[in-house]
Every structure is written in C-alpha cells, then in structure tokens.
Subunit: 292 residues, 2 copies
C-alpha cells in the first residue's frame, strides 16, 4: 500500500533520492522479516541537525552491537542527512534514519556478509504542540516492561514499546513509564524518565541493557552537572515518582517535557516545575551551539 | 537492494502476484519500522499445505492479540496460499506468510485504523538435508533468553532469536535452547524443545507468554496422547536435558529432529532415540491426512 504524502516529499533509500510515496524496500529485507535494523531520530532546528555527533556515535554503537557494517562513512551519512533535510525544506522538524542488515534469503542465522539498506525521511514538526506540552505538562501511566533484553541497542524491536504507548494514550496519558520485574521504572516507551526529589536532586535511571542511552539524556546530564545541579543516575520506583517534587521526560523530539501526573497521582504541585524549566532552558542554550 | 532469485519466482504482495525480485513494501510500513507484523511458515508436501487450519488458527490469534484486523477471509487467504505454491511449482517446501499492520505515518501510538499488508513467498526445501539431520541428530547449546515478554504471539520481533541461532551456529550447534531467568529452557530460537526422561516420559514446556504455541508441538502432543504415550507439559532445565534419555526439536520445517548433544554433553547414547523416531513416524502418518 502506498501512503498519502505531499507530492514534494523526498526519501533516500539505498543510494537514491526518490519520491516518498514510491520509496520501498524488498520483501526479504531483514528489517521487515526479523526487525534486524537500527535507527536514529534527530531533531532539526533552523534546517540544521541537533546533537548530530552524539546520534552518529550511538548509531555506530548500535550497529557494532548487532554486527551490521557501516554502509558509508560518517561524512557521507552526514552529507545525505543534510540533503534529505534540504530537499524536504525542513526548518524545524525531524529526520528519521534507519539502517537494516539488507535484503537476504530468509534465515534465522544472520549471514556473515550483507549489504545494509539505508533509509532516510524528514518532516516538519508542529512547534505549537510541543510548546503546549511544555507549558501544561503531560500525564504518564506505568505499565509492565515487556521489551526484549537489549533495549540499550536502538533497534526496530519496537512493538512492546508501541503497544505500551498505545495503551497509555487510551488511558488519557501521553506516555507509558515501563516498570521492570523488580518494580523499578526503566524508561518511557519512547523517552527517558526523570524525577526531581525533595531537595532538588535530579534522578534518572543508570545505563544498562534495560534502557536506551538517550542522546538528550546524556546532553542534559552533562549540562546539569556543568551547572552544578545535583544529578544522580540510579533506579527509582513509580512510588518515588508520585512522591517527587517534579518529573519530566526527554527525547530528541521534545527535550525536558514536564510530567505532572503518574497513574492518576499528582506530582508536586501538578504544574510544570522550576527545575524542569531550568533543564529545558539549559538544553535550549547549549543546543544552539551543537547544531551541525 | 534487490535479491538474486530465480527468474520464475513469484511473490504475492498487497493484492498482486509479482516477480519476486521486484516485490517490495513501502518504507513506512509498520512491519519495517516497528516490527509490527505477524507471520506463519507452513510446510508444503506434494504441493499441499500441511496443518493449514492450525496455522490459520494461530495466525488469527496472533493478529487478535496485537489488534491487526484480518485483511481477507480464511477462504481467500487459503486460495492465495495455494496459488503462491502452484505458481512457484513447490512440491516439497515452505510457504512464508507475513501480515503487517500496513503503511502508516510513523508514530509509536498504533493507529486505530489500518490496511494490513499481506506478503507471501514459497520455495522448495532440500529434503536430503532434513533426512540427514533426522538420521544423525543435531547439537544444541543453551543461551540466555533475551526475547520480549510475548513470545506466544508469532510476531517479527525476531532479532533476539536470530542472534541466538547465529551464536549457536558459530559454536558448531544447529539450534540454541533459550534459558529464562529462573534457569528453565523456554524453547529453541525457531523450534520447540522436548526431552524424553528415564521412564520414557516425553516432556515439553507448558504454554505461557514465554513460548510460541507451536503448531507441530500441538499436533505431536495430541498424536502422542492418542497413542497412549506418556506426555507432560512442564518446565525443564538444561541439566534435565543433559540427563535425559533423548531430546528433540519440532517445527514446521522439520518435525521431530533428534537432539543428541547439549552444551557438549551427550544426551542418552548420543544417537537419535527410539521414542523420537516413533514421534516422527506418528507425525508423518497423521500429516498425510491433514493436508489441505
């Protein structure tokens, strides 16, 4: 089935720029048959790619972890990303980059040799929606974390997260916070999870196979530490979140969105908090200097 | 990238029969971007589909569980499957059927409405290879089960299983037996796991979210019970397997393949056992009457 897209939209697939509605991959692409692929989503501001080197670092790590070779140099990849942004006339928006292991005869055994498929699309984001979320905050609900054991690799094994997000939305929440077998929050379905405890201490879960090493998470951690804010990486529970002063989520799409309610419990005053606001501000300031 | 395939091969995609090397899906198909799809693999014997109604029952269950609507009736699906087998001139082989949620604007939230993509391919299997495995048996190694929490749904969230199979092959084994957090075998990377204990008792893990409800598993269970063989569904450990009289794996590709070694330990005599042979024979006999 072909999607309905604006006629001018351009996608990059496997070495070619083509009209978005015509862009496809073969049915025996391992991305389609095994979820054997990795991806990145970068924010675009003023037509420039934000936190690009961090995204490319993580992409290279993901590919190393599942042994997909880089199909082109970082320089070439950066060039194509820039072209996709430019050809789609994106000022403020997102670029989506997916690299699959490629098209290979279907077999559970991963072939030693492959020619990866590179896919890129880009589109505008509605800034007003993000500004709205930032100004009033969002609700989250907790759900069991049913994802696989290697959430640190940014693969397209996304059905569990997608199901959780959908369930959260059906309950009137914006995001699902996933809870592991020991009762600790891992992260959001497509965001990292943060709380601010009583004395202004900012807490987010430590890195492990259970969570994605978020690019925005890392930039925020470094920036907050540089500002002498009190930040710590450790596990926390939904109860810790309900008792927290503030909470927020981070992702490339919306850095530091305030969370004002969890499972129906108001967090702090139930309004976006001052520390979350400061994080958003710090991020916005450094972000300007991080565009490529 | 287009695959190298024999020129006569035909695939069915989204309502059309097309040349296999030209068959594709759109880059925004949720099967590709989220692993949001289910599949079935049916064995073909004498040009007929084996255990078809069981495969269609499971397909419908998988789709119900992740809320993908059936894109066509069972009758229509059966007709197309038959056509794909016929057009590819498959006598003894496999048919692969994948149904994705369809092509939709990328969003973690699953859209309420969709038009699923139906994909089918078919190809011959080399009977000699399967006969060889049956006559000498295969080796397995145990690996941690890193798959997601809903392995009972036959989705394309297959990277963990695919990685395990690849690791097993690199260690000289045919299959990986996956071990859960409590130390019990769940199943093989793409097969169900069975052992035969001292007194001739046949054991396979009970159904839960942790394993796929294998079609061949179910047919074998029913057939063995009908033959008054001693069969039980319960968990077992790798140590139980190493101490067993016999072991075997089942799948649509190769029903009842003997397992003669686990993690370097010989199982029983280290040769295919009599009970495994009897199971294979019973299955072969009933299979003839189950073709559609």
């Amino acid at each position: 089935m072909k999607p309905r897209t604006p006629p001018g939209r351009i996608a990059y697939v496997d070495g070619r720029y083509s009209r978005h509605f015509e862009a496809g991959v073969h049915i025996e692409d391992r991305g389609l048959q095994f979820g054997d692929s990795v991806y990145e989503v970068c924010r675009v501001e003023y037509g420039a790619l934000c936190d690009l080197s961090e995204h490319l670092d993580r992409l290279e790590r993901s590919m190393r972890e599942i042994a997909i070779p880089m199909p082109m140099s970082r320089g070439a990849l950066t060039h194509v990303m820039g072209e996709v942004v430019r050809r789609n006339k994106v000022g403020y928006g997102l670029i989506y980059l997916q690299i699959t292991r490629g098209c290979l005869r279907r077999d559970f055994q991963i072939p030693a040799r492959c020619r990866p498929t590179v896919i890129m699309t880009a589109h505008e984001l509605d800034r007003a929606i993000i500004a709205q979320r930032r100004s009033v905050g969002v609700k989250v609900v907790t759900l069991p974390d049913e994802r696989w054991g290697r959430c640190d690799i940014k693969t397209t094994q996304l059905l569990a997260g997608s199901r959780a997000k959908t369930e959260a939305r059906s309950r009137g929440a914006f995001e699902a916070w996933l809870v592991d077998g020991e009762g600790f929050v891992t992260e959001g379905a497509s965001t990292n999870a943060w709380i601010v405890e009583g004395a202004g201490r900012i807490v987010t879960r430590n890195l492990s196979h259970a969570i994605l090493p978020g690019v925005t998470r890392r930039v925020v951690l470094e920036a907050a530490a540089a500002q002498k804010m009190d930040v710590i990486e450790r596990k926390f529970t939904p109860q810790d979140a309900a008792a927290a002063q503030e909470a927020f989520i981070t992702s490339a799409t919306g850095p530091a969105i305030p969370v004002v309610e969890i499972d129906g419990y108001r967090i702090g005053t139930g309004k976006p908090g001052a520390i979350t606001g400061k994080i958003a501000e710090i991020y916005a300031n450094i972000s300007i200097n991080r565009q490529t």
